[in-house]
Amino acid sequence: MELEAVIGLEIHVEMKTKSKMFSSGPVSFGDDPNTNVNVVDMAFPGILPTVNKQAVINAIRVSHALNMKICDLVTFERKNYFYSDLPKGYQITQQFHPIGSDGFLTIKTSSGEKKIGIERLHMEEDTCKQLHSWDFSLLDYNRAGIPLIEIVSRPEMRSGEEAAKYVEKIRSIVTFLDVSDGKMEEGSLRCDVNISLREKGSTKFGTKVEIKNLNSLANIQKAIDFEISRQSIILEFGGQIEQETRRFDEGSKETVLMRVKTDAVDYKYFTDPNIAPIQLSKEFIEDAIKTSPELAESKLVRYRELGLNEYDSSLLIADKDVSVYFDEGLKSGCSAKLLTNWVIGDVQSYLNKEGISIKEFHVSSLELGKLISLIEKGDVSNKQARDVFAEMIKSHKDASTLIKEMGLSQVSDESELISVIKEVIDANPQSAVDYKAGKDRAIGFIVGQVMKKTQGKANPALANKLILEEINRR
């Protein structure tokens, strides 16, 4: 019996809006517990929700990027259940009319391209964060009410690799759209996997297992691969899969049982009467899409048009902040190719060495671009530019100031160079004669003398050209 895996993903993306989904409480990560909280987030009696406009704009943008139908009537439902992390005793979510529905995205895997269907995308609010100890629990309401986007795929993935690629793509979309920082390890992008096995070719679904707590792309792939083999072994030996929730244990690289699923909870959904349905105008939706930040895919196309090769381009868009840095640098008017080399070369290796992100890098790409333009003009050599760059990092000064201070600017002024060249040839007539007689090496001596007289600042290429012209003239 040949088995195939049926995998569907539910992804929760925490938005990095200024305020929360339904309150004016600030959204901020890593602050002291219960400091970014107001009465609405705590669900004090009498509070009312107000819808965050930017969150709606974000949801429209992501829906559009995922090729979804956008519902122009925004309604919210209450999902009712009692839990210690749920301030109001219900969560406001979009059950009946998700803002995005019926979309897809295309992933590239080792076996080619594949289209993955996406069932729905909806907005909701996050719950508060819990820390359970053996005899008490701590609640941090900073997270309560942070806007979330939930993206539910169709069960169309078949391997850990496909799932990881799918999540990678979603992460790229939400980060490039400035919707989220997409950090799986910090929980701002959370992924739950539903996985079942069935006989290949069958249209029926097997019993599904849910895997939670997957905090990296690699772990998604590992967890799914492990789960496929775990379920395969059970089925091969005639066993049955239990409907259960498992988590991935990083130490053992295995999925372990969290709880057996009993009957599904009845959440008693109903439309939240505090939020009258919001009719989005066509203009509002179009404007949200039109003003949407550029996606990785479209950046890739643009980079290729700039003449960059596929490999370099893909390195630039691997991290949104790197591509933003690059785009900023382009504004200096420098060569895209040279800028690419610097960004993925010198800049990246410095960041790696220091263990910092490009956002923490203080040398602006505009300044870097200016330095590159000076190389292009021939004002500094590549080698000198590297010294300047190192100094820029150290001293926080700009390139042109440093070049002056370091006395590095090349002499590219022809009249200045010609007078030096004339002096040198006048003082060494024999060299000119030797060169004319066919001794090519003689030219090297003259160049050396010119460099010596200009203290190494002569533009070597230009000097070479002018020396030849001068000798030939004599």
């Binding site: 009465v39 209450r78 109001k88 005793g89 109903f270 009467p273 505090n274």
Partner: protein, 496 residues
């Protein structure tokens, strides 16, 4: 009696049984100070025998008086004592909703309406009792027990609810204004039993921010005064958009006092036949007909109009299903985890269970069970969704009446206040229709006002007038004419 003696007698009488405008004039003339008024109101509140108060804010009120900004002296509410129903969040003042589950809860923020009152210079002197969490209509179910009707010295008649304490405070002459809330008829019904003007404007006209929710889609901020002018004036202060309440309206706030004395010639008023037909009390019908005659004399056109009896009888069950369903969700935050009267347990589930089991009375739990039951997946279509559809049909039927009429006018209740120990036949037409029809105004969000029209056995009864959404000006104009006709205004029950 020479004039100065008369003045002295008046001063001894105090001011709290007077209208807002009268008291305001007295302050402006320097006859009385805000401090005098607050002391008078607090003295009266302390002597209250009707169980009208959850909490008398003596210290807080005296503190507020000392901080009054005298540049606001011309505001009508400057220095005037008011009472707030205990389901409005009041900063630093205990707020329980008359439920044990909120014993000890002291809010850190004030309701929008309380803030607006205070900005106008009003002084909150007390929080009033209510049916627990506003779920009830008798004024007998709050955690402090029965609230009595000031008109009845024997203490055998209800004052009505759920805004019982506010009704008692205003009709006993303790304050000239009290905030209430109205989800079915919780202000307009007690107004009828206590000879008051009880007014709930259009849904969305006044911000609900800070009002403990009972049934969101039906909840209205409402209030009691002793005459129509004061009601109109209070709307000037309370109405208007509040960004904290997404359902509050952007519609322009009018000067609601400006058109009170307009002639009502040609105004079309509908009387609903089945409601009148279901009432057997002759005194009520006769007083109501007298007020109709007066309206006709003033040039109003009165028609008796049919609304499907089946829909009228459906108002109450529809209201019960929708309100209980919303209530069970709205009160899910009261779980003992963050605030309220927490009862410990071995796990968070046990804390919630213990807190809620101990905190809510059986009547509340009954409502939650009805609400949860009607929201369950297997029942939702048959109960909750059906009730919503029914609500739509009811509202459509009344909208149709409003296509031709400026207002609907009927008795507010089939009789004077019922006995505290009385029982009603829950399936009679009188109960299902005349006793509970006023919730149609909550379903449609219509502005609706009750005002006194007569007395029987020395107990008052009133009539109710309801208009199209945001037609408060027309509503108050007609109400003022009715008041002129009956002459029943500024009524205060004799003090013990």
């Amino acid at each position: 009696m020479v004039k100065s003696d008369f003045q002295g007698w008046l001063n001894n009488m105090g001011y709290m049984d007077k209208s807002l405008t009268y008291i305001h004039e007295a302050i402006l003339k320097g006859e009385v100070t805000p401090l005098d008024l607050v002391k008078e109101a607090i003295e009266l509140a302390k002597k209250d025998t009707n169980n009208a108060f959850e909490y008398i804010c003596e210290k807080e009120a005296l503190d507020s008086v000392s901080k009054l900004d005298s540049s606001k002296k011309n505001n009508l509410l400057y220095g005037i004592p008011v009472v707030i129903k205990d389901n409005f969040s009041t900063k630093d003042i205990p707020t329980t909703g008359s439920s044990n589950i909120l014993n000890g809860y002291v809010p850190v923020f004030s309701s929008e309406v309380v803030t607006r009152l205070e900005n106008e210079g009003a002084i909150v002197i007390a929080k009033s009792t209510m049916d627990e969490l506003a779920m009830g209509g008798s004024g007998t179910t709050g955690h402090l027990g029965v609230t009595y009707n000031p008109w009845d010295k024997e203490k055998i008649y209800q004052v009505g609810g759920s805004s019982c304490g506010s009704a008692a405070a205003v009709s006993a002459g303790i304050v000239p204004f009290a905030l209430g809330s109205d989800t079915g008829d919780s202000v307009r019904k007690p107004a009828s039993f206590a000879a008051l003007v009880g007014f709930k404007p259009t849904w969305g006209r006044i911000s609900r921010f800070g009002l403990f929710p009972f049934a969101t889609s039906l909840d209205h901020v409402a209030y009691f005064t002793r005459n129509v002018y004061d009601s109109a004036y209070m709307l000037n202060i309370l109405a208007g958009r509040d960004d904290k309440d997404a359902s509050s309206s952007f519609n322009k706030v009018e000067d609601y006092t400006a058109n009170l004395s307009n002639p009502i010639k040609g105004k079309k008023i509908a009387v609903i036949k089945a409601i009148i037909d279901s009432i057997s009390d002759k005194e009520v019908l006769s007083a109501f007909n007298k007020s109709l005659d007066y309206l006709k004399e003033q040039g109003a056109e009165i028609d008796v109009v049919n609304v499907d009896v089946k829909l009228l009888k459906a108002i109450y069950p529809t209201y019960i299903i929708i309100s209980c369903a919303e209530a069970t969700s709205n009160n899910a935050n009261l779980d003992g985890i963050k605030f309220g009267n927490r009862i410990e347990g071995e796990s968070f589930e046990e804390v919630m269970l213990n807190t809620r089991t101990n905190g809510f009375s059986p009547l509340i739990k009954r409502r939650f069970v009805i609400g949860s039951f009607s929201l369950l997946k297997e029942n939702q279509d048959e109960l909750f969704v059906r009730a919503q559809k029914c609500r739509r049909l009811i509202v459509n039927a009344f909208n149709k009446v409003f296509e031709k009429y400026d207002a609907i006018y009927c008795p507010a209740a089939p009789s004077i206040a019922p006995l505290i120990k009385g029982s009603s036949n829950n399936l009679s037409d009188e109960y299902l229709i005349a006793d509970n029809y006023m919730a149609f105004a909550n379903m449609g969000g219509y502005p609706s006002i009750t005002l006194p029209i007569g007395f029987e056995k020395n107990m008052p009864f009133g009539a109710n007038l309801t208009a199209k959404p945001f037609q408060e000006t027309v509503l108050l104009n007609i109400a003022k004419v009715i008041e002129n006709g009956t002459g029943l205004k500024d009524l205060v029950a004799k003090r013990d």
